[in-house]
Structure formats: C-alpha cells, structure tokens
C-alpha cells in the first residue's frame, strides 16, 4: 500500500526485467494501484455501516460546487484505516457508530433510523448530535477529515481532492515567495 515500497518493488522488477523503466510509467502504475476499485470488498466495515457512513460523511463534507467526501472515497479510507493504521480503534469506532445510530433514532417520534430520515432531517439530526453528543460527533468528523486529507495511498483523498480543496500540493520543493506577505522579500 505504501507508495515507496510499491514503487521500489516495481522498480526492482521492471528495471531488472526490462533494463529500464521511466519514472512516469512507474508513477502511473502506482497511482492506479492506490485507487481501490469500486467493486472491491470492504476489509472491516459491514455493508450497513458503509451505507450509513456514506451518508454521514457526505453531509459533513458535501458535494457542492467542488467535490466532497464521496468523491474523495472517504469511506474507503475509513474501512482500510480500521484494518491497518487504526486497527486499535476498531472497537471504539464500532461503538461510535452504534452511539450515532442510537442518538439519531430518537430524532423522529416514530423511531425511524437515520437513513430513513429526509436529507434535511439528517442534517438537523447531525446538528443536534454536535450540540448534545460532541464526543460522538467529533469522532466521526475526525475520521472523515483524516480520510479527506491523508495521503491518497491510504484509500481516501482520491485524486488529491482534499488537498486541492485546502490549497496543499505535495511538490516537496518550494522557493520564496511562499505566501502573500513575503513577496518582494526573497
């Protein structure tokens, strides 16, 4: 999954077999590998949890005039992270989702589940959650933001959608001026 390991192993294989491989070719191969196919099965989350998280994360970072959590494949990140880098958080996260479902099931007197609410009701219910159960809200927000802004090789931030949103570029070499205020000082 790691870009470097992947590129390194590909480089060893290709360079060994073909004698030469351009970096752009290698990059293309590794970029393709980092994107998880739509049809791929999930590693940790249940189908029900995937559906729920898809709606929650799309409310937190909606698709409007720019792409949002859905396009950035944030749920893919959450799933993959819980199977790898956030492995220790599996139990806590499962409880957070259960707490979310429990809290939002009281939104309507008929006890409708969160997914059965209208989009406006869902937004309202998340707002109530933020006010009354900030721990649950910020757990969900935190993991959503991480999926939006972590390196794409972890499954989210697809196409660097998150980084484009905030104006970050992973170019790893810059020269002044870095910002507005140091113009003319370089």
């Amino acid at each position: 999954m790691q870009r470097r390991d992947f590129v390194q192993s590909m480089a060893g294989g290709l360079a060994g077999a073909l004698g030469a491989a351009s970096w752009s070719q290698l990059r293309a191969v590794s970029a393709h590998a980092a994107g998880i196919a739509e049809s791929a099965s999930y590693e940790f989350l249940t189908a029900e949890q995937v559906k729920l998280l898809d709606v929650i994360t799309a409310h937190l970072i909606p698709t409007d005039d720019t792409p949002g959590a859905r396009e950035a494949k944030v749920v893919r990140f959450i799933d993959h992270a819980l199977a790898t880098i956030f492995k220790d958080l599996q139990k806590d996260f499962t409880k957070t989702l259960a707490d979310f479902s429990e809290f939002t099931s009281h939104y309507r007197p008929d006890g409708a589940s969160f997914l059965a609410l209208t989009p406006n009701e869902q937004i309202d219910a998340i707002g109530e959650l933020e006010r009354l159960k900030p721990d649950v809200f910020f757990d969900l927000r935190g993991v959503t933001m991480t999926g939006m802004f972590a390196h794409p090789e972890h499954g989210g931030n697809f196409g660097k959608i998150g980084w484009k949103l905030i104006g970050y570029e992973d170019r790893y070499s810059w020269a002044p001026p870095f910002g507005y205020y140091d113009r003319g000082r370089e």
């Binding site: 409310h59 910002g179 140091d182």
Partner: protein, 563 residues
C-alpha cells in the same frame, strides 16, 4: 545494480565502512544514545583516538526510509522515528497521592541521530543570565533552582563549534543574543510570510524581531545539500540531508574514524560496576532481546533526560542501593519540560506556512522580564505554521464545523492562519521527578518511567503573560481573529531536562562541571539531564555545546591519568 540506489535493496553508500568490536573487547568508551549529545560524544571521542561503541535503541535509517506521511510510523513500526508507547509505556501522576496512569509524557527520538532527526531545529544560545539566576534573581518558594557550575563564557567556544561543525543558519547581531566570537557559518533561511508578519507585529510593539538561528542548511555545506523548502519539516526526517541532525553530521564522521561502532537495536538495561565502585561496561538487550555485556574502560550516558536517569535507577546494586551515581538522591529529580503559550491568528491573505522550514523570525525581548511583573524566568516568541495537510480539517471558533459553510472556509484556515508560539522557562521543584513505576513494565520487562509533576505556580503566571503578549503580537501583525487560551508549563514532551543535574556539591547534584558522576570516577553523563535550569525554550543547541565541552574535559582527564 548501480547508479540508482533507490531502485535496489542495496544499502545506500552514504557511509564509510564501519569498524565493529566484540562485546568482550574492552573499548575506551561505551556511549548510550546516538542523538544530539551522543552523536557529538561519539564523533569527538573517536576523533581524539579513543575506541567507541555507541548503543542505540533504534534502527539506523537513511533518507530512503523517510516519508512525509504522518502515518508512516504506524504502517512501518521498524521505521518510526520516536519511541513506541505500546512497547515502552510511561506513566504519570500529579502528586505522590495519585495513582500513576499510562501516558505519553516521555517523547524521544528512537533512531540513530535521536530526536535531532525530527526536531524543528531552533538553535538558540542560552543568554548569560541563564547560568546565574539563583544569584541574580533569588530562589522562589517551592523551587530548587540553582546557579550552573559553569557560565556562558565557558560554553561560548562550544556554541560556536556547534554552529560551524554541524551547520547552523542565522545572522549575528541580535541585541538579545549573548556575545559571540564568530558569525554564523551560513546566512539565514529565507524569510517566510510568518516571519514578515512577526516583524510587523513585533516592530509595532517596540520589540526586536530577528532572523531565526536554525540547524538547517540555507546553502550546501560540508558535503550536504541546502534546504529545498519541502515543508512539513516539524516531526519529519529530512530527505535531502539539510537538517543538521546527528545522523548526517556527527555519526558519519565518527564512523569514518574507523574507531567507532554504532550498534543499533541495542537497549541498555544496566551499567555494570565492580567491587571498587567503577563502571566496567553496559548490559543491553540486542535485537533478539538477548542480554549482552559490552565491556568498556569508561561509560558515557547520553540517552536523554528520561532514559538516562531510568538506566541509573535500574543499575542499583548493594553498593549503590538507590541507583548508580545517586548518593545525592537527585537522579530523576528537578525535572523540567519548558513551557508554551500558543494562540492562532487568522489573516487576510495566504501565508502557506506548510512550505519551508518552520521558523524564520524570532523575538527575544522577553528573555529577561521586567522586575515589576514579579515573574521568574522568561522566554521568546516565533510565528509558525508547521501544519501538515491533516490540519486541513481545522475549524475556527464560532464558525460552522461541517457542511458547505465549513468547506468554503477550509482553505482559509489552512493557508491563512499561523500560530504565535511563546517558548518559556520552567522552574524545578522539590517534588517534580521521574522514577521507576513499581507496577508497569515495558516489552523487555523493564520498569516504565513514572512522572510525578505539578507545574510551579509561577510558570502558569508566566504562561498567562506570554499568551496575552502573543495575542498582542498577532493583533499588531494584522490578524483578523485570534483563538486559543493555553499558556503554562508542558507536563511532558521531548524537552526532558534536569534529571541528572550538574553542580559542584555532591549532595545536591549528580555530576560535576566535567560531567563526571560525583560517585563514580569513570562514569559521565552528557545530555539534557545535566541542565540546572530549563533555558528559554530551545535546549538542543546547549545540549550539543555541553557535549563538545564534555569531550574536551574527558580527554583532559584521560591525559592527566585522572580516570
């Protein structure tokens, strides 16, 4: 395969071949730790002709092991830069009455090069007053602060040596810097927008902003590349060898002498002593958790202000029942972490502080506080961002935290904000200390270090003052809004200071001014644990100056046959 080291599993040939020793060889020195202090000790002692084995807990990583990804260490524990709290837990409590709980209070670099591999690289000299505060300002109630047994003038040649030998960028002439004998070897790093804004704010308040002294190369120097301003510098290892860590400065030069072995994945567990009370070597766990004894004529502990006292306390024998070199009872005591006061400011235009090194301007007018304020100690300021893109989820008080409204502001929060960072001194107190947890063990079965810490009341007042001054700096710089409220002592972190205090009196200190343990003639302690006072926030420069001086003192002792 040749020509493209990144395409192979062959080691990158950045290092000369390394001499190795057998554990049964009695080497001149075993040094525990390869960081800011251990690296200097290894290079200096091996250069002076001594045989040296350095025991390092962590691995020997190079540029191709490093990544800008904050989750790199989670995915590759064998390439993590800092200690793993699961394998090596620490515990902490506020007072002796409390039960200590698991905590991450002791943060240190656990690779060859130690914390210098990932540090921010602020290289501030201590001011002259730092060394004589008890005399000049008295000793506050409930504090054990004392004068150092050395003065700034004793360290000045070594501060200069640090700057020239490892490569520090900066500009001489800061009115609050103590006298220096040589200019910096390298000009300052380029000014960033944060630096321009600090100049703006500080000048309006009548303060004196100045180019920051940084242990990062502004130009190529001694065979290493200049900084390429990749960004996300804090907490990360440099991929172009521009950050002047021990890993790329001292360690390769030590190895090149042919007299120094860096032995990695070696976790020291006991300093061995003989019947006459002299040290004979160090027992460590090798990478297979097998105990090995490396024999040596003398031992230098440079393991940091937590691991060094821990090792001494674990080295108790019937002759040293309270731990080695601890007849004073001072091992682990007087612990200090520095303090911090942080505020965030939001500005009109893009700052983009994630590019480049973290700090480009500092303000030191507050090194000494006006007596009328009744505050002990002092500190300095910088403006910084140091964000990585995970900070893209930032929020602002009173503004929406999600939905389209938040999304429209996310870019502003990431690119147009900065932090004012007040770095402050901390007072040592009679009860603040680290010792060995009686219950919690690490993955090797060794006791976890336990912290007992309550900040001194003065340091909270100092923090409140620095926080307020920080707000004034932000406003004067033109911030549209200011957020944040903490100011006070840090209750842990990477600045692990004071736990094997240096002093002339064997009853109140652990080592003398030569860094020699009062109780053990051939045991030396050289790291942040020696600090008598905390400094104004940036300890590493002084740790290295002390190490250069210690290596001269130790060499003199050997020549005088006084070892």
């Amino acid at each position: 395969m040749s020509g493209h080291p990144h395409h192979t599993d062959e080691p990158v040939r950045l290092l000369p071949p390394m001499r190795t020793f057998a554990p049964t060889d009695e080497v001149d020195f075993v040094i525990v730790g390869s960081g800011a202090a251990g690296g200097v000790m290894a290079r200096e002692l091996s250069h002076k002709g001594f045989s040296v084995v350095v025991l390092e807990q962590g691995p020997f990583l190079t540029e191709r092991d490093f990544s800008h990804d904050p989750f790199w260490g989670d995915l590759h524990p064998d390439k993590a830069l800092t200690n793993n709290r699961k394998d090596q837990p620490g515990t902490s409590r506020k007072t002796d009455k409390d039960e200590a709980k698991l905590s991450g209070w002791n943060n240190y670099g656990r690779v060859v090069g130690g914390g210098s591999v990932h540090f921010t690289a602020n290289y501030w000299r201590f001011p002259e007053l730092e060394f004589e505060q008890a005399t000049r300002f008295g000793v506050p109630d409930d504090s054990t602060i004392a004068d150092w047994p050395i003065r700034y003038a004793d360290l000045e040649p070594y501060y200069t040596k640090v700057e020239w030998d490892i490569g520090v960028s900066g500009l001489a002439g800061n009115p609050f810097e103590p006298p220096r004998t040589k200019p910096f070897p390298l000009p300052p790093l380029p000014i960033k927008s944060e630096g321009v804004l600090l100049e703006r704010g500080a000048s309006k308040l009548g303060m004196h902003p100045w180019p920051a002294p940084m242990a990062i190369l502004s130009r190529p120097y001694r065979g290493r590349s200049g900084c390429v301003a990749c960004g996300i510098c804090i907490g990360n290892a440099c991929e172009v060898r521009a950050k002047s860590s021990s890993l790329v400065t001292m360690i390769p030069e030590a190895i090149a002498t042919g007299r120094c072995e860096i032995r990695t994945l070696s976790y020291a567990r006991k300093v061995e002593t003989n019947a006459s009370g002299r040290v004979t070597g160090v027992t460590y766990f090798d990478k297979n958790k097998k105990e090995v004894v490396q024999r040596a004529k003398a031992v230098v502990l440079s393991a940091n202000g937590c691991e060094t006292p821990k090792l001494l306390l674990m080295s108790a024998t019937s002759a040293f029942p309270d731990g080695l070199a601890n007849s004073s009872g001072q091992v682990g005591r007087n612990i200090m972490f520095n303090g911090s006061a942080l505020r965030t400011g939001l500005f009109e235009h893009e700052i983009n502080g994630w590019k480049g090194a973290v700090v480009s301007r500092v303000v030191w007018d507050t090194y000494e506080m006006p007596a009328s304020l009744g505050l002990y100690g002092g500190g300095g300021f910088d403006f910084r961002c140091g964000y990585d893109p995970l900070a893209g989820g930032a929020t602002w008080p009173g503004e929406p935290t999600w939905g389209s409204a938040w999304k429209k502001r996310a870019r502003d929060y990431f690119t147009k904000s900065l932090m004012v960072y007040g770095h402050m001194s901390s007072l040592p107190t009679p009860n603040n200390r680290m010792d060995l947890d009686p219950k919690v063990k690490d993955a090797w079965g060794l006791p976890a270090p336990r912290l007992t810490f309550t900040g001194h009341p003065n340091d909270f007042k100092l923090g409140a003052w620095f926080g307020k001054r920080g707000e004034e700096l932000l406003s004067a710089a033109g911030a549209l809004g200011v957020a944040g409220e903490y100011g006070g002592p840090d209750g842990g972190g990477p600045h692990l200071l004071g736990t094997c205090r240096m002093g002339n009196d064997p009853h109140t200190s652990v080592v003398n001014a030569d860094h020699r343990a009062h109780d053990v003639p051939n045991l030396f302690i050289v790291d942040g644990s020696n600090f008598v006072t905390s400094g104004r926030g940036q300890p590493t420069m002084t740790i290295q100056a002390l190490a250069f001086r210690a290596s001269d003192r130790i060499t003199s002792l050997v020549k005088e046959k006084a070892l």
